[in-house]
Amino acid sequence: MAQEASVIGKRVPRSDALEKVTGKTVYGFDFKLPGMLHTKLLWSERAHARILAIHTAGAESLSGVRAVVTAADLQEGRGKIRGVFGPTDRWLLARGKVRFVGEPVAAVVAESEELAFEAARQIRVEYDPLPILLDPEEAMREGAPWIADVPIEASASGYKGSARNVCAYARLRNGDVEAGFREADLIHEDEYETNMVHQGYIEPTVAVARAEADGGLTIWTNTQIPFFLRGGIAQLFALPLTRVRVIATHCGGAFGGKAGTLCAAIACLLARKAQRPVRLAFTREEELTATFPRHPTRYRLKMGVKRDGTITALQARCLQDTGGYAGEFGPPQASKINLLMSAPYRTENVDLEAFTVLTNKTDCGAMRAPLGPQTFFALESHIDAVAERLGMDPLDLRLKNAREKGEMHPTGQVLGDLGLKDALRAVGKAIGWGREVGPNRGLGLAVGIWYTGATLGASAYVKLNEDGTVGLIVGGSDTGAGAVFGGLPLIVAEELGVEPVEVFVEQADTALSPWDSGSVSSRTTYSLGNAVIAACRDARQQLLAMGASRLGFPEEQLELRGKAVRVTAEPDRAVPLAALALSALVSGGQVLGRGTYVATKPAFDPGRWEGLAMSTTLIDPAAAVHAVEVEVDPASGRVKLLRYVAAQDVGRAINPVGVEGQIEGAVSAGIGQALFEEIVFDGEGRVLNPSLLDYRLPSAVDLPRVEVLLVEGHLGGGPYGAKGVGEPSGIPPPAAIANAIARATGVRVKTLPLSSENLWRALSERRGP
């Protein structure tokens, strides 16, 4: 519909800002029901042990304790957690053995939180310790104990080799990598390692569950995935789907960490047993020990280049340490590593292998651009090192090899409109690439490529209220990112000619909302936005038909603007939406619009994949390119970020203030991962720093002002050409900062985080004893 965009691209406050600044928003953590009981989980203190017995009598005998549950309370033949990608290898409560410190073994509900804590302490578990495997390479070694107790089948993992504890394997091959290396003038090989970091949302994960009279369950929770959660809970308890109702509360940040089912499922198990409403909220210690952090990884990269910088071959082997379980998000990521590794730079010859490996550490999950920061820390550090060895400028080397629209990715997919080159140039210009910087200073840059997870569906309803305002009902939930409350109102306003403040959005209640696949994968504004456009156009057709008969003009000569149907050529001839809305109630019926959207998966060549290929294509690949100027104190290894420029290929910014906010937030978490965040384990697999004092998130004094450059025009398939924006800028910070440090000091640190301590060690090694 070739209409001039009037609201799209404007800086509009999000519709929930007012209630949030006044403290009126009810988050999941604030939600209460009368008679609600409180929960405490008993977490495993062992990283790997057989459970011989669980003694719950002491807890059950306490007055005010209403129920205690263990794996024995799980239904026969059920009890495995089921997530977005189907059934997993993990029981809701540990059954037979524990595989990491923090795995829930039992749970207790009581009249008060204090009592629940006390009761959990009274539960005694007898363990028979097993050898603890904390290192993925140790876990893969011949003769290593099977963490899953039995060899993992090739049919489940895609892996046919002899290494142990590999729960997913994917290989992407194209061309002839050996021929590519023979053709090269320079071959560079190196290894990189990344840290386990946490999503760090400030509101803990929480669920309130109520068992209904018909055996069903109602759950209020700060989830990212209301409909998948409904399916997972129904499956777990053998309930008809519609006996489970999930109501999304406001959410105080998620970043992938609230895309699981564990918290709500345990609350449901207890609510069924106690027959009272049950609240389960994770403590911060539990969050940092036992929820679903970012996978630590190891990469070995080998790249061949010609003297002029042409990349002739890329070979990589990645170990993704998934912790005690493949879990809800382990297996899909192996192929994603290969997909991302081969995305930005042109090369025919690739051989990329990724192994997802079990260890006795925390069950890792999904965090903002899962496997993005890890893969690009390796690739982008590597390409800078190659540039140095070639004596070539790192920006020039990237520009020389950067892929563009229409090129073929090694999977056989023809790429969409990628703005990588424009983002590289924009960042180079903004930071003054090539300029002289002072002593101990350096400029660094790095690329990240991400995509929009649009292959799962979205749907929306709109209704025209009697006063001409618009109600929008969606099955998505706003994690805080603003896609639902900051983006969708603008789309409705644009399509129906109302003001954004005249759009009232209701987020997911699975009993009322149409289906949506969740606030994940940078897809909400994109997919749900497209569904909203379709719903609005449905309503709009009805309004134009009504306007045509009222105004006596054909529909083609009418438009929706200023809360009325108007004659385009004579805007004063108009009939207000409110009048149409009212008359419709007695003649013809209320104006309701419905819309759905599912992206078409791009074609690719499955023959190039081996193993478990779950993430196989890049829908609307988007580039984030960051440049940073650092100053390193050689005496302490302390890194100061003097300037930070982030360019992102966004297609079209629907609400720039929200897009900038996404980029700034992604950069800040990326800087945290780069410089100091790390979940640290001792030799027994216990987390040593499970508090926000010892696990530091960046504060206002740690971060520079991020200069954001929105690269528009390389359009995607989202509303008005938008691409997914939430994740790409979480990817480049570790590599950009590592590259800047290398140029400031001459020392390349290949292990994250680039903390003062690690950098000081690296500088000291170079200085010698």
């Binding site: 600044v21 400030i202 509101e203 940040g253 911060r284 906010g661 950069v667 504060s699 206002a700 971060l703």
Partner: protein, 155 residues
């Protein structure tokens, strides 16, 4: 054993019975129903539960309710007057300083305390004032912009 606590919250006198170990955050949230004071960690590290105690920011999970006896507490619910937002609240809305909003009440209260003491702060002073309130969504730039804008509007 409970003790009497008398505290002025957002200009209103409250008298209640509290156990000695009851924290101010739980008192505000569970006894007074002031849910705008957020719970994030319970160990004084994230700052989400920040309120003003006699005008100074404190993490209310680290303050016992009884120690607020005879003192004045300001929570986020006490800022807007007669349906009109405080200028700092307005600036937060205008500048996109709110994303998930879970740290927003704390950040606004810290800003209020700062601007009362330092009406024209530098960016650095704003950063230092906000250092105790963790935000994972925004990267702080838009929060800082909002505080600076509220400061210049107040001049």
């Amino acid at each position: 054993m409970k003790y009497r606590v008398r505290v002025r919250v957002n200009g209103e006198e409250y008298e209640a019975q509290a156990e000695p170990h009851l924290t101010l955050v739980t008192f505000l949230r569970d006894q007074l129903g002031l849910l705008g004071t957020k719970w994030g960690c319970g160990t004084g590290d994230c700052g989400a539960c920040t309120v003003l105690l006699d005008g100074r920011p404190v993490t209310s999970c680290m303050v016992l309710a009884l120690s607020a006896d005879g003192r004045e507490v300001t929570t986020i619910e006490g800022l807007a007057r007669d349906g009109k937002l405080h200028p700092i609240q307005e600036a937060f809305v205008e500048h996109g300083a709110v994303q998930c909003g879970y740290c927003t009440p704390a950040a606004i209260l810290v800003a209020k305390a700062l601007l009362e003491e330092t009406p024209s702060p530098s960016e650095d002073e704003v950063r230092r004032a906000l250092a105790g309130v963790l935000c994972r969504c925004t990267g702080y730039s838009k929060i800082i912009d909002a505080v600076l804008a509220a400061a210049s509007a107040g001049r």
